[in-house]
């Protein structure tokens, strides 16, 4: 099994707050790794460090054997890293289809083309991507008018456009109903299997996490407090304390 993402002693502070504090972990090919933790634990900051939006204070990030500290997001994307955002970020003046076409235009290095019309470019590929995330029937709608859950799926299609080997998904199922959630995670699991890519995702819905993740890492106040397979993490008293509070955890232990 090859390691595609390797984080070593990573730290990042904002004005005194240690948002990410000395974190190390690996992600392997074909693995669906969940990163969980309460609000403000440092999950999004971690994502921003990995995709180059933030520059780490210390520590190293190695993707596909290449140290990427200091590279810009657009360069990291070219290495084959796709990303979706906690707060969706799409081109609201474009249709769903055009959003995906945009990513493909960039992937194929065509953004400086001033001759062809976008209308006829990469149509089949775009539609295929939209079909994968179940948005093909809404391809002509403006992104500004979509429901939040649908926007998340458009983002996923965009993130898949460059055939990433590493996919970073920050709360991919926010704004979706329970059924939609598990369908999206099943889709993700399937992509992981067929394309042998690695996925790092965050999620507040523990049911989704324990059902789909191969492995879980737990963050609290910037620190990595536990990691392992879902069963181990579920039993970890430290983790229970974080999520339920000390007393609750103690009570739970008695019951068990």
């Amino acid at each position: 099994m090859t390691t595609i993402l390797s984080i070593h002693r990573l730290s990042k502070s904002f004005e005194g707050i240690r948002a990410v504090n000395n974190i190390s972990f690996d992600l392997n090919e074909g693995e669906l790794l969940a990163m969980i933790g309460p609000n403000g634990a440092g999950k999004s900051t971690c994502f921003n460090l990995i995709n180059g939006q933030l520059v780490p204070d210390s520590g190293s990030i190695v993707i596909f054997g290449k140290k990427i500290n200091g590279l810009k997001p657009r360069h990291i994307w070219r290495l084959g890293v796709g990303r979706t955002f906690q707060i969706t970020s799409t081109f609201i003046s474009m249709t769903v289809l055009e959003n995906v076409q945009m990513a493909l235009l960039s992937h194929h290095g065509r953004t400086l083309n001033v001759v062809r019309k976008v209308q006829n470019l990469f149509m089949d590929e775009s539609i295929e991507l939209l079909e994968r995330v179940g948005m093909a029937d809404q391809q002509d709608r403006a992104c500004g008018t979509l429901a939040y859950g649908d926007l998340k799926r458009v983002e996923l299609a965009v993130a898949l456009a460059n055939n990433p080997k590493l996919l970073l998904m920050d709360e991919p199922t926010a704004g979706m109903g329970p059924k939609e959630r598990s369908r999206l995670m099943e889709l993700t699991a399937e992509i992981v299997q067929t394309h042998r890519i690695g996925v790092l995702f965050t999620e507040h819905d523990m049911e989704v996490v324990f059902k789909h993740a191969d492995r879980i890492i737990v963050l609290n106040q910037g620190k990595l407090v536990a990691q392992g397979c879902p069963e181990d993490v579920r039993r970890d008293t430290g983790v229970q304390e974080i999520y339920l509070g000390r007393e609750e955890a103690a009570r739970l232990e008695k019951i068990i």
Partner: protein
């Protein structure tokens, strides 16, 4: 030694004057994000009011200071009126419409002042008790200069106390720094905005009144001070009062001493300073990131659609009309059509930058005028034939745009707009002052088309070919991958970066394209007129283009063409009437209130269905 001290104090006094105009503007911008171009007009009204009040108030020595205060208060009340009646309606419109509304105000106030106060330049009265000079080591300094320095410091202190020691001030600062928090606090925003607008306008009126003994009052004051005021606000960092004071100080002193070293520097010093500051600190000295940003309104960003069959037919009809025009139109109409076509091409290039590109330029005239001058200089100095001049001039301007754009794309929002203005002013002053090469104020004359094109009708067809061709190319660009990428950059810098697109590079190339096509328009223009003057590069020219784009509406691709035609037609129609600015300004104000999406946007809203392929609401 005495001379240097006096020079320093003169600089300080000038800085005080600048600060007095700028502080109100900064305050207003900080809270409401309104780029109030009419601020200079308020300043002018303050000066006029004080002039007449001083004459009428029977208070003896006290009447001077009383008049100044009352003028400020009256202007403050006018500010309230403007805010409540006009601006309040526009807070939800795209910021560009606010801009257009305040442009309209400038025109209206200009003509109302002409009517009320007369068009003669008024010499300011002296300040009783402070009309002498002080001797500083052998050099004289007017006492009133010293008074201004102290008054500015007092006002700075008063504003600081107001902002830091009162509940109202805390709300103002909260609104400046974090608007969402303010909304969350449940503050009555409407009242807050009005009160800030009152204070800002009061300060403008006060500033105008206070400088009366130094500069008097005239009808050009409004535009003369507004550029300077904006420079100060931007250099200081928008919304920062202390920043504004320091910026004024920097500009005042560097100008005072710069003149000694390089006398020609007066015209450009402040723009040079702004360019340098913005290049080093993209948000001004004390500005915090983001606050100068135009946020794109969702209403303005529906997906673009290719022209429907019917719209294409309509376009074809229009084209046919243009082609057949010489058969039935007189010379005068042809000249008008030529001008419309040229300005439409220039506006279209500005539109490309502003609409799909999301970058607002206050200095578009540098490209248009640059094209005119490039062509004229080629003809004048190298005897270049028209054909070659028309070929090389746009390329030269494209190159210029690459240089200017390289700096500008590092910024965004108002800061970017102001940097374009700075570069435009710098280029303008070079053209204006380098008489040996550019003819200076006298311009360059006898730049005529080649023989084969000197016939009016031939020239008409030549112009139409180049201009319509240029417009169609720009239109086509919007539908190409490049145009889409540009819109993507405008919509979300974050997303663009995370799909591997280099935002700055695309914006940079947009500058080049804009420059090229505006330069083409300018070079045709010079051959149609036979001469060129520095005015073609000056601020009012830039504002003309901005108005044409705004008039047409930023949303529709046909906007700039419709806007230019309407602008020139209106201008031609009503400039023969006495108070034409009043009418034009009122039309602008009416338009922004009645059609917040621009004329083309309105037509599309109203009649879009007729020209649309799709039935049902537009996505």
């Amino acid at each position: 030694m005495g001379f240097l001290i006096v020079q320093f104090l003169t600089g300080l006094s000038d800085a005080s004057g600048l600060f007095l105009v700028a502080c109100g503007l900064s305050l207003i911008f900080g809270v409401s994000r309104i780029v109030n171009f009419a601020h200079g007009s308020f300043y002018m009204v303050g000066a006029y009011l004080a002039y007449y009040l001083i004459g009428y108030l029977p208070l003896g020595g006290l009447s001077f200071w009383a008049s100044i205060l009352i003028s400020g208060l009256i202007v403050g009340l006018i500010g309230i009126l403007v805010e409540v009646l006009l601006l309040k309606r526009l807070y939800r419109s795209p910021e560009l419409f606010l801009l257009m509304g305040t442009f309209g105000l400038i025109l209206v106030i200009q003509d109302l002042s002409r009517w009320l106060f007369g068009s003669e330049d008024l010499l300011g009265p002296r300040c009783p008790g402070l009309d002498g000079s002080i001797d500083i080591l052998g050099t004289l300094l007017p006492q009133y200069d010293l008074a201004l320095i102290i008054i500015a410091l007092l006002i700075l202190l008063a504003i600081w106390l107001l902002l830091n020691r009162t509940r109202w001030g805390i709300l103002v600062r909260a609104a400046t720094e974090d608007r969402e928090m303010l909304a969350a606090l449940g503050v009555n925003q409407s009242l807050l905005f009005t009160s800030v607008f009152f204070l800002g306008s009061f300060l403008a009126g006060l500033g105008g009144a206070l400088q009366l003994p130094k500069g008097g009052a005239d009808l050009l004051m409004d535009l003369n001070v507004i550029a300077g005021a904006f420079v100060v606000v931007v250099v200081g960092g928008m919304g920062s009062i202390l920043g504004a004071y320091l910026a004024a100080l920097l500009i005042g002193e560097l100008s005072a001493f710069g003149v000694l070293v390089l006398p020609q520097s007066t015209l450009v010093m402040m723009f040079l300073i702004m360019a340098v500051v913005l290049i080093i600190r993209p948000y001004g000295l004390f500005g915090k990131g983001k606050s100068g940003e135009y946020e794109y309104d969702e209403k303005t960003s529906a997906p673009i659609q290719p022209a429907s069959e019917r719209l294409k037919l309509a376009g074809l009809g229009l084209l046919l009309l243009v082609l057949l025009m010489p058969l039935f139109a007189g010379d005068f109409q042809l000249v008008l059509m030529i001008e419309i076509a040229i300005l439409a091409l220039s506006s279209m290039s500005l539109y490309f930058m502003m609409g799909p590109g999301g970058m607002i330029s206050f200095g578009h005239a540098v490209f248009f005028g640059g094209g005119a001058y490039a062509a004229a200089l080629l003809v004048h100095h190298l005897n270049t034939p028209m054909e070659l001049a028309l070929f090389f001039a746009p390329l030269l301007v494209g190159l210029l745009a690459l240089i200017i754009g390289w700096f500008c794309v590092r910024l965004s929002g108002v800061y970017l707009a102001m940097l374009t203005l700075a570069f435009a002013q710098i280029c303008w002053s070079i053209v204006f002052q380098w008489s040996a090469f550019t003819g200076g104020d006298d311009g360059l004359l006898s730049i005529w088309p080649s023989d084969w094109a000197s016939n009016r009708i031939v020239f008409y067809y030549l112009t139409m070919t180049l201009c319509i061709g240029g417009i169609l190319i720009l239109r086509h660009l919007v539908f190409t991958p490049f145009g889409y990428t540009l819109r993507a950059c405008r919509d979300s810098a974050l997303r663009v970066d995370s799909i591997g697109i280099n935002l700055k590079r695309h914006q940079w190339f947009t500058f080049a394209l804009t420059g090229f096509f505006a330069g083409l328009a300018g070079s045709i223009y010079v051959f149609s007129k036979g001469s060129v003057f520095p005015d073609e590069m000056a601020i009012p020219r830039s504002f003309d283009f901005l108005l044409m784009v705004l008039l047409g509406g930023i949303e529709a691709l046909s906007g700039p063409v419709i806007g230019s035609a309407a602008f020139i037609w209106l201008h031609d129609l009503i400039s023969r009437i006495h108070f034409w600015q009043l009418i034009l300004g009122s039309i602008f104000i009416f338009l922004v209130v009645a059609f917040p999406r621009g004329i083309a946007g309105f037509l599309d809203n109203r009649f879009g269905r007729i020209f649309s392929n799709h039935i049902g609401p537009r996505a």
